[in-house]
Symmetry: C2
Subunit: 414 residues, 2 copies
């Protein structure tokens, strides 16, 4: 994979120009894209800034994020060839930092659940996950060192786990969603994919203009980790349970303390109501598409919006009250631990391309708005990942703990 | 003015068809628009639904709100003739209820402070206010019974006061902002203009699908009213102070109890930081326009965005913390009173069209996300208005109290 911090180090050492760094990504795309199918469009002859903290970094932009110079297709025939007037705020932020928004990446239609054509570069024959399929796959295939995705249920952390790459879904609204197609305004969150934890930490610190998020800004110390089973979401596969156990052992080897932690009500109740908030808002956000182009919607999304017509404002207000109470309860949970550790998905990526997998272990954290980091757990076979979660606004702490475990996993002797 | 509830009552009595009701608005537009200049575009031959709770209601839509069948110009040459792909969520909601989005209404560029060409129908030679200038003026001129605006500082309540119409800025995100051009995502709030309080109450109850918001759903009783001076924002003009006193006397005649109420810190501190949140977000939301079309920005907005480049994430995070604490403090304020009463603007609309007036008495309430109703106070000369404010989510209570005072003001003998 292309490591963002490695590319920047080579650039800063004078051994790689920004243009040459972009050329590496372009060459990798030429070699891998025909097989992976992660890109919706590609900038043919991009302008490459010479300066800026991310000069030389080629970025993938999920195709529900507006770009003025590339089509924004939303993964749907309804928007085929659509050209927004302006770049989304996050795309302008990439440009301001010197990065090159080189390609749009494939997405489930309107960032919902239906699959794309994209293959999983790390697990042949299995889904790359979704909805940020192309962002996860393009990083996993070594085509891009950075890609933007969005998560409303589990659309960043799950595909990152399935494709074996690092990712962060930051605190809610830390990254601006202006110019990002809305599915659910209370949930939609921009996220980042990179080769490793250091890469997404550097990218997030720069994009959010919060240097303290980057690794090394403060010492991780000996974090107190709460191990969360999320029983309310069912059990993960045995493979995934083994990966979580390996992450726990690595954390302890690195000096962390780990203890089991149950999530009391109202947290399971909030988890159960995530879909009500999501679908009640999606019905409004996609009202034009549903009324004008129902037949052109993908099968799963169309059925979901059909069902959403029956939701009431009362259901929605009740679900929002539960979520509000759960956010307060989660603050109390964090009074005793620094971060939480749990699985990123039920198991390895499902076989075939018919499904993008199940976001049931991701929903609660999106609803809580707290930062989640996917940490790949090395091993045989298709990738597995666990997530490190911190309190709202504490993105740097989640990344520091994830990096600590990542380093310990890479060095089993330590 | 065209009253929404009166039009609906005539329709329900069988004396007015929906098409004839739309025709009334069209005729009024033909007569008044050349002089008022409140419309950015007009639907030539609109489809008029026969059924629906708002069938027969012609609505104005502020020109920063996306429409698929009319241009959305954002009040800026940068978007001249721009055609979004989809209708905004709130426009689809109008259609679902049977209303006709008949016209786009003028707006300050990107809903900022710079004036439009629109005249104040109730105060010749004075500004109609802004940024929702066309929405306020089109209702005041009797051209439309309903218009949508947005408020980020004081862009709904202030023009309503200047033009002598009723308006509500509802609880934050009660109405969906999907498809509304973002200035500040933490502040931008959709609002409604109508002839009187009953009109905006009916419209909001229907658009938000919360019947309990409408008048009559519960008895207003004898509300406890807190009279708020907002000293931190300076003093209103003597005329406005007299209007506020008249509203207090009317409220007391109607059975309310009124007492002075000071707003303690952190509320004044939050008021002072409103602009930091607004401008830090506007810098991101309008990054493409600023980078690509700086010379085409209006003078005030360009200067504002120039200054906003110096704001830091630290300034912004500090301002958000203050706002968070102020929202908690405001909950305590509402433990002793049902609604607050304060001025809607410093005074009558300023003379001339060079300024849209001052939102300093509006900013705090937008930042708090609480519902605000503008209530015109009858009298000689250019209009004056006061605002009735309730706790978050209590839009119906603000409207009920405003209606109670409105009725008492209309009948000084009572």
């Amino acid at each position: 994979m292309l490591s963002l911090v490695d590319l920047l180090a080579r650039r800063d050492a004078g051994t790689l120009t920004p243009a040459a760094a972009i050329g590496i990504a372009e060459a990798a795309i030429a070699a891998r894209e025909p097989e992976v199918g992660a890109l919706a469009s590609l900038q043919a002859d991009p302008f490459v800034p010479e300066r800026g903290p991310l000069a030389g970094i080629a970025a993938g932009v999920k195709d529900i994020i507006d770009t003025a110079d590339l089509p924004t297709g939303m993964g749907s025939p309804i928007y085929a060839g659509w050209r927004p007037r302006a770049d989304a705020a996050i795309v302008m932020r990439l440009r301001a930092l010197g990065a090159v928004p080189l390609a749009k990446t494939t997405t489930s239609p309107f960032a919902s659940l239906d699959p794309t054509r994209t293959r999983n570069p790390r697990a042949p024959g299995r889904t790359p996950g979704g909805s940020s399929a192309g962002s996860a796959a393009s990083v996993a295939a070594g085509m891009l060192p950075l890609a933007l995705g969005t998560q409303t249920g589990g659309s960043v952390i799950r595909p990152a786990a399935y494709c074996g790459v690092a990712a962060i879904k930051p605190s809610f609204r830390l990254l601006p969603t202006v110019g990002v197609k809305t599915f659910s305004w209370a949930l939609d969150t921009l996220g980042l994919f990179g080769a490793g934890i250091r890469d997404v930490a550097r990218a997030l610190a720069l994009l959010a203009d919060r240097p303290a998020i980057d690794l090394g800004a403060s010492e991780p110390g000996r974090p107190r980790i709460g191990l969360v089973a999320q029983d309310f979401a069912g059990s993960p596969d045995p493979d995934m349970q083994a990966a979580l156990a390996a992450a726990v052992r690595a954390a302890e080897r690195a000096g962390a303390s780990v203890r089991d932690l149950a999530l009391p009500e109202p947290l399971p109740g909030a988890w159960a109501r995530h879909g009500i908030i999501q679908d009640y808002e999606a019905r409004q956000a996609l009202a034009w598409e549903y009324a004008s182009h129902r037949d052109a919607l993908s099968e799963g999304l169309g059925a979901r919006l059909d069902r959403a017509q029956d939701l009431t404002a009362r259901d929605y207000d009740d679900a929002r009250r539960h979520a509000h109470q759960a956010r307060r309860a989660l603050k109390d949970v964090f009074s005793d631990v620094d971060v939480l550790l749990t699985v990123s998905a039920p198991g390895r990526a499902p076989e075939g391309l018919a499904s993008t997998g199940d976001p049931r272990f991701n929903r609660l954290w999106t609803l809580m708005g707290v930062p989640c980091v996917n940490l790949p757990v090395p091993g045989e076979g298709a990738p597995l990942g666990v997530q490190v979660i911190a309190r709202f606004g504490d993105d740097g702490r989640a990344l520091a703990a994830a990096r600590m475990i990542e380093a310990a996993l890479a060095d089993p002797s330590r």
